[in-house]
Protein backbone atom coordinates (compact mmCIF):
# COMPACT_ATOMS: atom_id res chain seq x y z
CA UNK A 1 0.00 0.00 0.00
CA UNK A 2 1.62 3.27 -1.12
CA UNK A 3 -1.03 5.94 -0.60
CA UNK A 4 0.07 9.47 0.19
CA UNK A 5 -0.16 8.69 3.90
CA UNK A 6 1.51 5.29 3.90
CA UNK A 7 2.94 4.23 7.26
CA UNK A 8 6.55 4.04 6.10
CA UNK A 9 6.33 7.68 5.05
CA UNK A 10 5.31 8.62 8.59
CA UNK A 11 8.16 6.52 9.93
CA UNK A 12 10.58 8.45 7.72
CA UNK A 13 9.14 11.68 9.06
CA UNK A 14 9.51 10.62 12.69
CA UNK A 15 13.08 9.57 11.98
CA UNK A 16 13.81 13.08 10.66
CA UNK A 17 11.85 14.80 13.40
CA UNK A 18 14.72 17.13 14.22
CA UNK A 19 14.34 18.78 10.79
CA UNK A 20 10.78 19.67 11.66
CA UNK A 21 11.76 20.69 15.12
CA UNK A 22 14.34 23.07 13.72
CA UNK A 23 11.78 24.53 11.35
CA UNK A 24 9.30 24.89 14.18
CA UNK A 25 11.92 26.66 16.29
CA UNK A 26 12.75 29.06 13.47
CA UNK A 27 9.09 29.78 12.80
CA UNK A 28 8.62 30.52 16.47
CA UNK A 29 11.65 32.77 16.56
CA UNK A 30 10.67 34.61 13.38
CA UNK A 31 7.14 35.05 14.73
CA UNK A 32 8.26 36.52 18.02
CA UNK A 33 10.72 38.91 16.41
CA UNK A 34 8.33 39.92 13.65
CA UNK A 35 5.59 40.49 16.19
CA UNK A 36 7.85 42.76 18.23
CA UNK A 37 8.71 44.74 15.10
CA UNK A 38 5.08 44.87 13.98
CA UNK A 39 3.98 46.13 17.39
CA UNK A 40 6.63 48.83 17.45
CA UNK A 41 5.76 50.00 13.92
CA UNK A 42 2.05 49.65 14.58
CA UNK A 43 2.17 51.80 17.70
CA UNK A 44 4.36 54.49 16.11
CA UNK A 45 2.35 54.74 12.90
CA UNK A 46 -0.95 54.26 14.72
CA UNK A 47 -0.17 57.20 16.98
CA UNK A 48 1.03 59.31 14.04
CA UNK A 49 -2.16 58.47 12.18
CA UNK A 50 -4.27 59.60 15.14
CA UNK A 51 -2.66 63.04 15.50
CA UNK A 52 -4.02 66.19 13.93
CA UNK A 53 -0.74 66.96 12.20
CA UNK A 54 -1.30 66.66 8.47
CA UNK A 55 2.29 65.63 7.67
CA UNK A 56 2.30 62.82 10.24
CA UNK A 57 -1.09 61.59 9.13
CA UNK A 58 0.00 61.53 5.50
CA UNK A 59 3.20 59.72 6.40
CA UNK A 60 1.24 57.07 8.28
CA UNK A 61 -1.34 56.80 5.48
CA UNK A 62 1.33 56.18 2.84
CA UNK A 63 2.89 53.37 4.83
CA UNK A 64 -0.44 51.71 5.58
CA UNK A 65 -1.81 51.96 2.05
CA UNK A 66 1.33 50.74 0.28
CA UNK A 67 1.74 47.78 2.58
CA UNK A 68 -1.92 46.80 2.77
CA UNK A 69 -2.45 47.00 -0.96
CA UNK A 70 0.47 44.94 -2.20
CA UNK A 71 0.99 41.21 -1.61
CA UNK A 72 3.24 40.14 1.22
CA UNK A 73 5.13 37.82 -1.10
CA UNK A 74 6.16 40.72 -3.32
CA UNK A 75 7.28 42.74 -0.31
CA UNK A 76 9.42 39.88 0.95
CA UNK A 77 10.91 39.24 -2.50
CA UNK A 78 11.58 42.95 -2.76
CA UNK A 79 13.54 42.89 0.50
CA UNK A 80 15.25 39.61 -0.37
CA UNK A 81 16.44 40.72 -3.81
CA UNK A 82 16.57 44.44 -3.26
CA UNK A 83 18.51 44.82 -0.03
CA UNK A 84 21.74 43.22 -1.30
CA UNK A 85 21.77 45.85 -4.07
CA UNK A 86 21.81 48.48 -1.36
CA UNK A 87 24.75 46.69 0.21
CA UNK A 88 22.64 45.27 3.04
CA UNK A 89 23.26 41.59 3.53
CA UNK A 90 20.89 40.04 6.02
CA UNK A 91 20.40 36.43 7.07
CA UNK A 92 17.30 35.05 5.33
CA UNK A 93 15.46 34.65 8.60
CA UNK A 94 15.76 38.36 9.31
CA UNK A 95 14.55 39.21 5.82
CA UNK A 96 11.44 37.26 6.77
CA UNK A 97 11.22 39.02 10.11
CA UNK A 98 11.42 42.43 8.45
CA UNK A 99 9.01 41.50 5.67
CA UNK A 100 6.34 40.04 7.93
CA UNK A 101 6.94 42.63 10.66
CA UNK A 102 6.56 45.57 8.30
CA UNK A 103 3.52 43.96 6.70
CA UNK A 104 1.63 43.37 9.94
CA UNK A 105 2.85 46.67 11.35
CA UNK A 106 0.59 48.36 8.80
CA UNK A 107 -2.44 46.39 9.96
CA UNK A 108 -1.61 46.92 13.61
CA UNK A 109 -1.21 50.66 12.92
CA UNK A 110 -4.83 50.78 11.80
CA UNK A 111 -5.95 48.81 14.85
CA UNK A 112 -3.99 51.10 17.16
CA UNK A 113 -5.28 54.25 15.44
CA UNK A 114 -8.89 53.13 15.84
CA UNK A 115 -8.19 52.27 19.48
CA UNK A 116 -6.70 55.68 20.22
CA UNK A 117 -9.56 57.45 18.49
CA UNK A 118 -12.04 55.56 20.67
CA UNK A 119 -10.61 57.29 23.76
CA UNK A 120 -12.34 60.57 24.68
CA UNK A 121 -10.23 63.60 23.78
CA UNK A 122 -10.68 64.92 27.31
CA UNK A 123 -8.16 62.30 28.40
CA UNK A 124 -5.40 63.79 26.27
CA UNK A 125 -6.39 67.27 27.38
CA UNK A 126 -6.29 66.33 31.05
CA UNK A 127 -2.85 64.79 30.66
CA UNK A 128 -1.48 67.73 28.67
CA UNK A 129 -2.93 70.16 31.20
CA UNK A 130 -0.94 68.39 33.91
CA UNK A 131 2.29 68.94 32.02
CA UNK A 132 2.63 65.64 30.16
CA UNK A 133 4.27 65.79 26.76
CA UNK A 134 2.29 64.36 23.86
CA UNK A 135 4.22 61.07 23.93
CA UNK A 136 4.11 60.93 27.72
CA UNK A 137 0.34 61.33 27.62
CA UNK A 138 0.13 58.62 24.95
CA UNK A 139 2.24 56.23 26.93
CA UNK A 140 0.72 56.70 30.38
CA UNK A 141 -2.84 57.75 29.69
CA UNK A 142 -4.07 57.02 26.17
CA UNK A 143 -2.37 53.77 25.13
CA UNK A 144 -3.12 51.85 28.36
CA UNK A 145 -6.80 52.64 27.81
CA UNK A 146 -6.64 51.91 24.10
CA UNK A 147 -4.91 48.60 24.83
CA UNK A 148 -8.08 47.15 26.30
CA UNK A 149 -10.00 47.90 23.13
CA UNK A 150 -7.18 46.85 20.88
CA UNK A 151 -6.05 43.61 22.47
CA UNK A 152 -8.54 41.24 20.77
CA UNK A 153 -7.88 42.46 17.21
CA UNK A 154 -4.19 42.56 18.04
CA UNK A 155 -4.22 38.92 19.04
CA UNK A 156 -5.93 38.09 15.76
CA UNK A 157 -3.11 39.90 14.00
CA UNK A 158 -0.60 37.75 15.87
CA UNK A 159 -2.35 34.65 14.54
CA UNK A 160 -2.14 35.84 10.92
CA UNK A 161 1.43 36.89 11.48
CA UNK A 162 2.47 33.42 12.61
CA UNK A 163 0.83 31.86 9.57
CA UNK A 164 2.37 34.45 7.27
CA UNK A 165 5.90 33.66 8.39
CA UNK A 166 5.47 30.71 6.02
CA UNK A 167 6.40 33.08 3.17
CA UNK A 168 9.91 32.45 4.40
CA UNK A 169 9.70 29.11 2.61
CA UNK A 170 9.78 30.99 -0.70
CA UNK A 171 13.17 32.49 0.05
CA UNK A 172 14.69 29.40 1.67
CA UNK A 173 14.21 30.93 5.09
CA UNK A 174 14.69 27.80 7.19
CA UNK A 175 11.24 28.02 8.74
CA UNK A 176 8.77 25.22 9.34
CA UNK A 177 7.16 25.44 5.92
CA UNK A 178 10.53 25.54 4.18
CA UNK A 179 11.80 22.42 5.94
CA UNK A 180 8.60 20.54 5.24
CA UNK A 181 8.83 21.56 1.62
CA UNK A 182 12.43 20.63 1.07
CA UNK A 183 12.20 17.42 3.07
CA UNK A 184 9.26 16.21 1.06
CA UNK A 185 10.68 17.41 -2.24
CA UNK A 186 13.52 14.93 -1.77
CA UNK A 187 11.45 11.89 -0.91
CA UNK A 188 8.07 13.03 -2.25
CA UNK A 189 6.39 12.18 1.08
CA UNK A 190 4.23 15.27 0.85
CA UNK A 191 1.25 13.85 2.70
CA UNK A 192 2.71 13.42 6.18
CA UNK A 193 4.93 16.48 5.80
CA UNK A 194 2.10 18.91 5.12
CA UNK A 195 -0.25 17.39 7.66
CA UNK A 196 2.47 17.67 10.27
CA UNK A 197 3.25 21.33 9.60
CA UNK A 198 -0.46 22.06 9.49
CA UNK A 199 -0.85 20.58 12.95
CA UNK A 200 2.18 22.45 14.22
CA UNK A 201 0.79 25.80 12.99
CA UNK A 202 -2.52 24.87 14.57
CA UNK A 203 -0.80 24.24 17.88
CA UNK A 204 0.64 27.74 17.77
CA UNK A 205 -2.38 29.58 16.45
CA UNK A 206 -5.39 27.87 17.96
CA UNK A 207 -4.72 28.84 21.60
CA UNK A 208 -4.03 32.41 20.51
CA UNK A 209 -7.23 32.58 18.52
CA UNK A 210 -9.13 31.22 21.53
CA UNK A 211 -7.47 33.82 23.70
CA UNK A 212 -8.59 36.55 21.26
CA UNK A 213 -12.17 35.31 21.50
CA UNK A 214 -12.00 35.24 25.25
CA UNK A 215 -10.75 38.84 25.26
CA UNK A 216 -13.49 39.86 22.85
CA UNK A 217 -16.14 38.42 25.15
CA UNK A 218 -14.55 40.09 28.13
CA UNK A 219 -14.45 43.56 26.57
CA UNK A 220 -18.06 43.09 25.44
CA UNK A 221 -19.14 42.33 28.97
CA UNK A 222 -17.26 45.24 30.53
CA UNK A 223 -18.32 47.70 27.84
Amino acid sequence: MTGPFAWFKWQALFRDWHIFAEGFGNTLLASVLALALALALGIIFGVLGSTHQKVFKLFSRIYVEIIQNTPLVIQVFFLYNGLPHLGVMLPVLSVGVFGVGIYHGAYIAEVVRAGIQSIHRGQMEAALSQGFSFWGAMRHVILPQAARVVLPPLTNQAVSLIKNTSVLAMIAGGDLMYHADSWSAENIYYGPAYVTVGVLYLILCFPLAQFARYLERKTEVSA
Binding site: G122, A126, S129, Q130, G131, F132, V141
Partner: protein, 241 residues
Protein backbone atom coordinates in the same frame (compact mmCIF):
# COMPACT_ATOMS: atom_id res chain seq x y z
CA UNK B 1 -0.01 86.23 36.88
CA UNK B 2 -1.82 85.57 33.60
CA UNK B 3 -1.81 88.22 30.91
CA UNK B 4 -3.70 88.01 27.65
CA UNK B 5 -2.75 90.62 25.08
CA UNK B 6 -4.82 91.06 21.96
CA UNK B 7 -5.81 87.41 21.83
CA UNK B 8 -7.79 86.33 18.77
CA UNK B 9 -9.02 82.84 18.04
CA UNK B 10 -10.52 81.58 14.81
CA UNK B 11 -12.01 78.16 14.21
CA UNK B 12 -12.01 78.17 10.45
CA UNK B 13 -14.43 80.95 9.48
CA UNK B 14 -15.66 81.34 13.04
CA UNK B 15 -14.14 84.26 14.93
CA UNK B 16 -14.47 83.08 18.53
CA UNK B 17 -12.19 85.45 20.46
CA UNK B 18 -11.99 89.00 19.18
CA UNK B 19 -9.02 90.69 20.74
CA UNK B 20 -9.04 89.82 24.41
CA UNK B 21 -6.96 91.88 26.83
CA UNK B 22 -7.06 90.57 30.35
CA UNK B 23 -4.82 90.41 33.42
CA UNK B 24 -5.41 87.91 36.16
CA UNK B 25 -3.63 89.12 39.26
CA UNK B 26 -1.82 86.93 41.73
CA UNK B 27 -4.25 85.54 44.26
CA UNK B 28 -7.24 86.90 42.37
CA UNK B 29 -10.48 84.95 42.09
CA UNK B 30 -11.91 85.70 38.69
CA UNK B 31 -15.28 84.45 37.57
CA UNK B 32 -16.09 84.43 33.86
CA UNK B 33 -19.72 84.44 32.82
CA UNK B 34 -21.54 84.85 29.55
CA UNK B 35 -24.02 83.20 27.20
CA UNK B 36 -23.38 79.83 25.61
CA UNK B 37 -21.01 80.06 22.66
CA UNK B 38 -19.59 83.42 23.74
CA UNK B 39 -16.08 81.96 23.96
CA UNK B 40 -15.64 81.37 27.70
CA UNK B 41 -14.18 77.89 27.31
CA UNK B 42 -11.95 78.99 24.47
CA UNK B 43 -10.70 81.88 26.61
CA UNK B 44 -9.84 79.77 29.64
CA UNK B 45 -8.29 77.07 27.44
CA UNK B 46 -6.01 79.70 25.91
CA UNK B 47 -4.62 80.29 29.39
CA UNK B 48 -2.88 76.90 29.38
CA UNK B 49 -2.61 76.68 25.62
CA UNK B 50 -5.00 73.75 25.21
CA UNK B 51 -6.30 76.15 22.59
CA UNK B 52 -3.65 77.98 20.62
CA UNK B 53 -4.57 81.60 19.92
CA UNK B 54 -4.59 82.58 16.24
CA UNK B 55 -2.82 85.78 17.25
CA UNK B 56 -1.93 87.69 20.38
CA UNK B 57 0.10 86.82 23.44
CA UNK B 58 -0.54 84.72 26.52
CA UNK B 59 1.91 85.28 29.37
CA UNK B 60 1.80 83.06 32.43
CA UNK B 61 4.00 83.82 35.40
CA UNK B 62 6.20 85.96 33.19
CA UNK B 63 6.62 83.28 30.50
CA UNK B 64 5.14 84.00 27.11
CA UNK B 65 3.66 80.59 26.32
CA UNK B 66 2.51 81.66 22.88
CA UNK B 67 6.13 82.24 21.82
CA UNK B 68 7.70 79.63 19.54
CA UNK B 69 9.50 76.92 21.55
CA UNK B 70 8.02 78.18 24.83
CA UNK B 71 8.28 75.67 27.71
CA UNK B 72 4.54 75.04 27.62
CA UNK B 73 4.57 71.68 29.40
CA UNK B 74 6.67 73.16 32.19
CA UNK B 75 4.30 76.09 32.67
CA UNK B 76 1.29 73.76 32.66
CA UNK B 77 2.65 72.02 35.77
CA UNK B 78 1.76 75.10 37.77
CA UNK B 79 -1.54 75.80 36.00
CA UNK B 80 -4.03 73.12 36.93
CA UNK B 81 -7.31 72.70 35.11
CA UNK B 82 -10.61 71.21 36.22
CA UNK B 83 -12.92 70.19 33.40
CA UNK B 84 -16.66 70.05 33.00
CA UNK B 85 -16.46 66.33 32.22
CA UNK B 86 -13.97 65.61 35.07
CA UNK B 87 -11.64 63.68 32.73
CA UNK B 88 -10.28 61.44 35.45
CA UNK B 89 -8.06 58.62 34.22
CA UNK B 90 -10.43 55.63 34.26
CA UNK B 91 -7.66 53.01 34.24
CA UNK B 92 -6.17 54.37 37.44
CA UNK B 93 -7.48 54.30 40.99
CA UNK B 94 -8.45 57.55 42.67
CA UNK B 95 -5.12 57.80 44.46
CA UNK B 96 -3.18 56.92 41.30
CA UNK B 97 -5.06 59.69 39.52
CA UNK B 98 -3.62 62.06 42.06
CA UNK B 99 -0.08 60.74 42.01
CA UNK B 100 0.53 59.95 38.33
CA UNK B 101 1.63 63.39 37.16
CA UNK B 102 3.45 64.48 40.34
CA UNK B 103 5.58 61.32 40.18
CA UNK B 104 6.18 61.22 36.43
CA UNK B 105 6.27 64.91 35.62
CA UNK B 106 7.52 66.62 38.74
CA UNK B 107 9.70 63.79 39.95
CA UNK B 108 8.11 63.67 43.38
CA UNK B 109 8.71 60.39 45.21
CA UNK B 110 5.86 57.91 45.30
CA UNK B 111 5.61 58.04 49.08
CA UNK B 112 5.51 61.80 49.11
CA UNK B 113 2.96 62.01 46.29
CA UNK B 114 0.75 59.51 48.06
CA UNK B 115 0.99 61.27 51.35
CA UNK B 116 0.02 64.65 49.95
CA UNK B 117 -2.55 62.93 47.73
CA UNK B 118 -4.23 61.40 50.76
CA UNK B 119 -4.23 64.76 52.48
CA UNK B 120 -6.00 66.38 49.52
CA UNK B 121 -8.47 63.50 49.29
CA UNK B 122 -9.20 64.03 52.93
CA UNK B 123 -9.76 67.67 52.27
CA UNK B 124 -12.35 66.99 49.55
CA UNK B 125 -13.93 64.39 51.84
CA UNK B 126 -12.97 61.32 49.83
CA UNK B 127 -10.14 59.72 51.73
CA UNK B 128 -12.15 56.51 51.98
CA UNK B 129 -12.31 56.24 48.20
CA UNK B 130 -8.55 56.30 47.57
CA UNK B 131 -8.41 52.79 46.18
CA UNK B 132 -11.54 52.63 44.06
CA UNK B 133 -11.76 53.41 40.36
CA UNK B 134 -13.41 56.62 39.13
CA UNK B 135 -16.28 54.74 37.49
CA UNK B 136 -17.41 53.66 40.95
CA UNK B 137 -17.94 57.26 42.05
CA UNK B 138 -20.84 59.67 41.59
CA UNK B 139 -20.35 62.73 39.39
CA UNK B 140 -19.90 65.01 42.36
CA UNK B 141 -17.32 62.70 43.87
CA UNK B 142 -15.46 62.43 40.58
CA UNK B 143 -15.27 66.19 40.30
CA UNK B 144 -13.97 66.47 43.83
CA UNK B 145 -11.31 63.90 42.97
CA UNK B 146 -10.47 65.95 39.88
CA UNK B 147 -9.98 68.99 42.10
CA UNK B 148 -7.78 66.97 44.45
CA UNK B 149 -5.81 65.73 41.44
CA UNK B 150 -5.28 69.32 40.36
CA UNK B 151 -4.22 70.33 43.88
CA UNK B 152 -1.70 67.52 44.17
CA UNK B 153 0.32 69.24 41.45
CA UNK B 154 0.69 72.13 43.94
CA UNK B 155 -0.33 74.60 41.24
CA UNK B 156 -0.10 78.37 41.49
CA UNK B 157 -3.15 78.85 39.33
CA UNK B 158 -6.36 76.84 39.05
CA UNK B 159 -8.59 77.01 36.00
CA UNK B 160 -12.17 75.72 36.21
CA UNK B 161 -14.31 75.35 33.10
CA UNK B 162 -17.91 74.95 34.23
CA UNK B 163 -17.01 72.44 36.94
CA UNK B 164 -20.59 71.90 38.04
CA UNK B 165 -22.45 71.98 34.73
CA UNK B 166 -22.35 68.23 34.17
CA UNK B 167 -23.57 67.45 37.68
CA UNK B 168 -26.97 66.52 39.00
CA UNK B 169 -28.38 69.44 41.03
CA UNK B 170 -27.99 67.68 44.37
CA UNK B 171 -24.24 67.27 43.79
CA UNK B 172 -23.44 70.82 42.79
CA UNK B 173 -23.13 72.15 46.31
CA UNK B 174 -20.57 69.59 47.49
CA UNK B 175 -18.27 70.69 44.66
CA UNK B 176 -18.89 74.39 45.21
CA UNK B 177 -18.12 73.96 48.91
CA UNK B 178 -14.71 72.58 48.05
CA UNK B 179 -14.10 75.47 45.65
CA UNK B 180 -15.13 78.09 48.18
CA UNK B 181 -12.82 76.47 50.68
CA UNK B 182 -9.99 76.70 48.13
CA UNK B 183 -10.75 80.29 47.31
CA UNK B 184 -10.09 81.25 50.92
CA UNK B 185 -6.53 79.97 50.58
CA UNK B 186 -5.04 82.58 48.34
CA UNK B 187 -4.52 80.47 45.24
CA UNK B 188 -5.19 82.25 41.93
CA UNK B 189 -8.45 81.02 40.42
CA UNK B 190 -10.20 81.55 37.12
CA UNK B 191 -13.66 80.02 37.09
CA UNK B 192 -16.11 79.80 34.22
CA UNK B 193 -19.47 79.15 35.82
CA UNK B 194 -23.14 79.92 35.84
CA UNK B 195 -23.23 79.64 39.63
CA UNK B 196 -23.91 83.24 40.57
CA UNK B 197 -24.00 82.43 44.26
CA UNK B 198 -20.40 81.28 44.00
CA UNK B 199 -19.45 84.41 42.07
CA UNK B 200 -21.04 86.64 44.69
CA UNK B 201 -19.38 84.76 47.50
CA UNK B 202 -15.78 84.51 46.32
CA UNK B 203 -15.13 86.54 43.18
CA UNK B 204 -12.81 89.53 43.30
CA UNK B 205 -13.83 90.29 39.76
CA UNK B 206 -16.56 89.11 37.44
CA UNK B 207 -15.90 89.18 33.71
CA UNK B 208 -18.82 89.11 31.30
CA UNK B 209 -18.13 87.74 27.85
CA UNK B 210 -20.33 88.21 24.86
CA UNK B 211 -19.64 87.19 21.26
CA UNK B 212 -15.93 86.76 21.79
CA UNK B 213 -15.36 90.00 23.63
CA UNK B 214 -15.16 91.11 27.22
CA UNK B 215 -18.17 93.36 27.41
CA UNK B 216 -17.97 94.30 31.04
CA UNK B 217 -16.02 93.53 34.18
CA UNK B 218 -16.13 94.55 37.80
CA UNK B 219 -16.72 93.48 41.37
CA UNK B 220 -19.69 91.24 42.09
CA UNK B 221 -21.29 94.17 43.90
CA UNK B 222 -21.13 96.28 40.76
CA UNK B 223 -22.29 93.44 38.58
CA UNK B 224 -25.28 92.28 40.47
CA UNK B 225 -26.56 95.70 41.53
CA UNK B 226 -25.95 98.00 38.56
CA UNK B 227 -24.45 96.44 35.43
CA UNK B 228 -23.89 99.09 32.79
CA UNK B 229 -24.64 97.17 29.58
CA UNK B 230 -28.04 96.17 28.35
CA UNK B 231 -26.74 92.77 27.30
CA UNK B 232 -25.30 92.15 30.75
CA UNK B 233 -28.61 93.04 32.32
CA UNK B 234 -30.43 90.75 29.94
CA UNK B 235 -28.06 87.87 30.65
CA UNK B 236 -28.24 88.36 34.40
CA UNK B 237 -32.01 88.64 34.38
CA UNK B 238 -32.17 85.25 32.65
CA UNK B 239 -29.69 83.55 34.89
CA UNK B 240 -30.76 85.00 38.21
CA UNK B 241 -34.39 84.26 37.64
Amino acid sequence: MIQLEGVHKHFGQLHVLKGINLNVNTGEKMVVIGPSGSGKSTLIRCMNLLEKPSSGKVIVDGVEITAPKAPVAKVRQSVAMVFQQFNLYPHKTVLENLTLAPILIKGVSKAEAEESGMAFLDRVGLKAKANVYPSQLSGGQQQRVAIARALNMKPRIMLFDEPTSALDPEMIQEVLDVMVDLAHEGITMVVVTHEMGFARQVADRVVFMDEGQILEQGTPAHFFSNPSHERTKLFLSKILR
